[in-house]
Symmetry: C2
Subunit: 703 residues, 2 copies
């Protein structure tokens, strides 16, 4: 993170290359030191060239950085684009999107995120850091990267679904912990937003992970406090220290805060709606080809540069305060009072916000004793620009987070509310904190984790009751209109995310209503050719194994075998010439590692196995390799109950058995897709869609 | 909580009644103002009477308070004794202990806890407050209290298992939130320690509950800041403010902290072990009768008084510091420098800790700039006394918590370590915070929630990395020796608590291995007499309903019916003279409320229903009232898989069906008790118990 900060600061120093030019200009005009609104007191011809040069340098460096970020993302790892949080969340729900955790994606995510954040785009770094953490965890979970020759023997123990999922959860906790220096917030984020299944042991492990993050950060801060970090600054464990000696607020301060929360909730849902629509448009553009993706990124970068450079001209120059500890106006790379086009002794408040890293902008906005620093018009402009830029910048083909832009936008919104409310016991800095909370609550819809993250960001425990109330209200208000931003993105990406709750109409359906055929069944001792044919012609991943006479007196469901194990069996080619039972001797040719969970995208495909005609006519005994006690439900069970079993136990396949015996012992297999609302609606168009999105069968009396 | 504090302070003022006597004594001895260790400079005969009188007043008032607390607990609601956290935790796991949430228990818990905490016993109030919160929630969940005429119609919606469980979870979160003014800590405590099942919606609701607690507390603090609270003091949202301007610690400070954590972990497990053994002894005493219970409580009270009054005589008198803002020595009810037997200008450090509320003692110990206030011997004595008193006081028949005693003991331990380590960047107050963390971690074994609670108690974010590391190490060290203190108490109380993980030996057993008979089955249309007979002769709560010819072609498992619904049917007496199918007309005689979950201990018993001979010969159609899709497992399923289904979905009954059809359609019912390790060990004594408590079947090659 320090690295990101540093690079962002580097870029920033290129962005202020024009300042000496402006300085010279204003020195020659010391007589006209009056606050000037949006006009230039100098003869235009003498400055035209200097400002143009400054803009060209600013815009070109931004464009160069954006272009490099989008090029590596588009050509090397398109999976690294965007936040990554929806992908990780879907993975933890059981959806393996291809290549999201590859080593390639990891590298592009890190480098691309640094480039993109440095390029003045209004995007965040928290999301990419969560994805980075999850990526590292997943690569460890699959025993390293074979392609890049980074493998460790001892990591083999994690080669199973559960451990890998646990590692990824811990990795995403570490991401937030590092991004916001909020170790407890990181654990809670992983718990509240990311994880679909949670165990007490996982809580403990995630806590351990973030403790390590906190200690490493603390050690780095130690180094920086000794001044050995150079450009990276002094650092500190608390990012935005807003502690006032005595925050005392009373009942009269609560109504404006409630109003702030309600409007923040509405703004949050508008933000989600706008982002959702924009992403749909961007998807159409991006689908046309890689060139279009990159052009889109460049257009956004240029527009951003124009806005950032153009808007400060509208803002008025404000006289420097006399009691500030900082130099004013700031000439150099970092500070609260940017000069921009103003005469000496004056500063441009909008430029101070724009030509700053996002972190410093937040720090400015959250600060106490700065109630007079910003003008209302500047704040409104800043808020509107951030709101629009953050929605327009997210969908382009670079790694981009949503957290920081939402925090900045929210802080500007909160300051605006504070300015409109006038004098209360809360200063504008505290209003900015509450504004960030309300927009985060309205957009991300988390409660406890956001509360703790804000607490850890600002170290202000006295504000806790107000932050809690703001988060609750904004979340409740926003929930009326649409869903969580990450859920919207997941829907757009088409991930079959399995919700924890059953939809009301599922109570009216039975499992038999959604099971669709044809069902592929294997016999306990199956012909090799048959297995190859079925594996090649279907995409199923699990197959019921049924024993029939003479192996049993009547057809009996023996168990369930998965595709990966069948492929392992075919690869070993230890076939039988006659159909005989092998028993546990069958294992002698296999090691445990053969049946271990393969790395993502590293599983063998059926097409890769070549078998002779002779081998195809042989047999294989599936009994020793079959899961003999799969979870089953009766075909008459209500769909919502089956969903609860499927979701709570975390299954991939659920066998459906007949109510009355005597027929085939299994009538179908339920997978994740059978529980998707779209699938069910296609099967049962009779289900009515009401205005409130609750689906139901038409009432019998009406029909 | 403010109430508790206030009453504790009241008691405290009675505990220092003797101070004027001592004052007079010391005034007559102003010539001997030298630090005197454990000796009395006055002529003994002149003071004998005064000290005896003071002790008698002190001990008598303590005894009176303890006696009242134990009398109401023993005679009115024995369920209110102890912390209540194990009972609530068991309830949330699915164990309904009788009367733990009755209105009677609630009243006794509140009054008894106030009396007990006031009586100088070394017990806490957090546990009782959690139980109180859970109690209020549970009473709301059952629609109020019928007995006490407190019922509300709108509460009827909560009359089901899930909503009641959610309410109780929120109630326990509110308890911790109120006890420690830690709203986020309360949510996490409910999540990490209390809840067995957790949903995202529940997180949100618990957060809302504690937000209300935080706001009410904030409002009360507002009133108190205006000085309108009288005895209750000024209050404040942060209990122990330990913020130092710049806490800077370096790598060299870490080793002593690690040592503190390891020893803290060991002490925590010793604490658990000692408490466990003492509770076993106390159980033997308490079982002999109510009189024994009360005598035990009185003995502990008198011993506590003797120790508290006697031990300060050993401590040396220390000269008052010149730079303190408080009056020294303190003559009155509250303060850091108690005079006790010392001459003017001197204070007794041990008396300052003993004759104080626990809250003030913690505040003293956590304070910065007090490194010279306490002597090492005094601290050692204080630590040992707290350690012993807190273990000896818990098991007596009064409402008693464990949190605060462990925090006090841990703070003393931390200070001791700080004193032994000598000069570091961490002051003794911070060592006390870390000591509390280590003992809490070693005893309670929580991580995230304790971390946040300590954070909210002390408002010191910079200490976070150290607190995390201390909690993790002490928990890990203590886990080697024994379990969580609440789990130990639950085992002692015999609650069938269902762990989330399966024991390793369960993988070697099938469901069929643990199902025991005889199985009671009802037919779809059953004779009333038969139902009454089965309900009277068995204690089962769920019965499979099987349809046989002529209702179906072969025996078919129709579903599962529960005892409560059968009793409702019998109570309505709408029987059939001939065995006929009723269909959904059967519901016309019932309202939804008839089948709603009854309040705890308010369900009707089978013995209460009187039926004539004629009625016993009639029939009842069970089909409309049967759960037609119960969860089922095949008899050959591994026990550990069945346990995961049972635990994750939160079942009470799990039907076992045969592998091969043709026999009876159901072979048994699994309940919680079938998964208890004790039950399984009794059934399969062949399972080997190794030194490390892992059970397994003997290896085939060895046997």
């Amino acid at each position: 993170m320090a690295l990101l900060n540093g690079l962002a600061a580097d870029e920033e120093s290129s962005a202020v290359l024009h300042e000496p030019l402006l300085l010279r200009r204003s020195r020659s005009n010391t007589t006209s030191q009056i606050a000037i609104v949006g006009s230039n007191p100098c003869p235009i011809e003498s400055l035209d060239y200097e400002f143009s040069a400054a803009f060209v340098v600013f815009a070109t460096s931004n464009l160069g950085l954006t272009l490099s970020a989008s090029l590596i993302t588009a050509f090397i790892a398109p999976e690294a684009a965007g936040s990554g949080i929806p992908e990780v969340k879907a993975y933890l729900n059981g959806v393996d999107a291809p290549a999201i955790f590859s080593f390639r994606t990891l590298l592009v995510k890190i480098v691309g995120s640094i480039l993109a954040v440095s390029s003045s785009l209004n995007i965040g770094k928290a999301g990419p850091m969560v994805h980075t953490g999850a990526c590292i965890a997943a690569i460890m979970g699959q025993g390293g990267s074979k392609k890049f020759r980074l493998t460790w023997k001892w990591l083999q123990v994690f080669k199973n679904d559960r451990d890998r999922r646990d590692l990824v959860t811990c990795g995403s906790a570490a991401g937030i912990a590092a991004a916001f220096r909020a170790p407890v917030g990181g654990v809670l984020f992983a718990l509240e937003e990311m994880a679909s299944w949670w165990r007490s042991a996982l809580l403990w492990r995630a806590f351990f992970t973030t403790a390590v993050v906190a200690i490493v950060l603390r050690a780095l801060v130690d180094v920086c406090l000794r001044g050995e970090c150079g450009l990276f600054g002094k650092g500190g464990l608390i990012m935005y220290d807003v502690t006032s000696e005595n925050i005392s607020y009373h009942l009269s301060d609560v109504p404006p805060v409630l109003l702030l929360a309600v409007i923040g909730g509405i703004l949050g849902s508008v933000y989600n709606h706008l982002l959702n629509k924009l992403l749909q448009i961007y998807n159409l553009i991006n689908r046309k080809g890689t060139a279009y993706k990159i052009i889109l990124a460049c257009v956004i970068s240029i527009s951003t540069s124009c806005l950032l450079f153009g808007l400060p001209w509208i803002a008025s120059c404000r006289p420097c305060p006399s009691d500030t500890s900082e130099p004013c106006p700031t000439i150099g790379r970092s500070g609260n009072y940017k000069k921009f086009q103003c005469p000496p002794g004056y500063y441009n408040d909008l430029a101070s916000l724009f030509f700053n890293t996002n972190d410093d902008a937040i720090k400015n906005l959250f600060s106490k004793d700065t109630d007079t620093e910003f003008h209302r018009t500047s704040m409104l402009l800043f808020f509107a620009t951030c709101f629009l830029l953050s929605t327009f910048s997210y969908g382009i083909v670079v790694p981009a987070g949503l957290f920081v832009p939402v925090i900045v936008t929210g802080a500007a919104y909160g300051r605006l509310v504070g300015m409109c409310v006038g004098s209360t016991n809360l200063n504008h800095g505290l209003f900015a904190v509450l504004g960030s909370a309300s927009l985060l609550g309205g957009s991300m819809r988390m409660t406890v984790s956001l509360c703790v993250i804000i607490l850890e960001l600002t170290d202000n425990l006295l504000l806790l009751p107000l932050i809690m109330i703001v988060l609750l209200i904004s979340k409740t208000v926003a929930d009326v209109f649409n869903g969580n931003i990450y859920d919207l993105i997941m829907t757009l990406k088409g991930f079959p995310y399995l919700e924890a709750h059953a939809e009301p109409y599922m109570r009216q359906l039975t499992v038999g209503d959604v099971v669709t055929g044809p069902l592929q069944i294997f016999h306990g001792i199956e012909k090799v050719g048959n297995i190859v044919h079925v594996l090649k012609t279907t995409g199923h991943n699990g197959f019921p194994v049924v024993d029939e006479p003479p192996l049993s007196s009547s057809p009996v469901l023996f168990g369930l075998i998965v595709r990966a194990h069948l492929i392992t069996l075919l690869k070993k080619k230890s076939f039988l010439t006659t159909p005989t039972l092998l028993g546990s001797d069958a294992f002698s040719q296999f090691s445990a590692d053969d049946f271990a969970k393969k790395g993502l995208d590293h599983g063998d495909q059926i097409g890769d196995i070549e078998l002779s005609e002779e081998e195809l006519d042989m047999f294989v005994d599936l009994h020793p390799f079959t899961n003999t006690s799969p979870y089953t439900v009766v075909e008459t069970m209500s769909l919502s109950k089956a969903l609860i079993l499927f979701r709570e136990v975390g299954l991939r396949h659920l066998l459906v058995i007949p109510k009355v015996s005597g027929r085939v012992p299994v009538v179908g297999i339920l997978t994740r897709h059978d529980f998707m609302p779209n699938h069910i609606l296609n099967l049962h168009p009779r289900l009515l869609r009401s205005r409130w999105r609750r689906l139901r069968f038409p009432l019998p009396r009406l029909s």
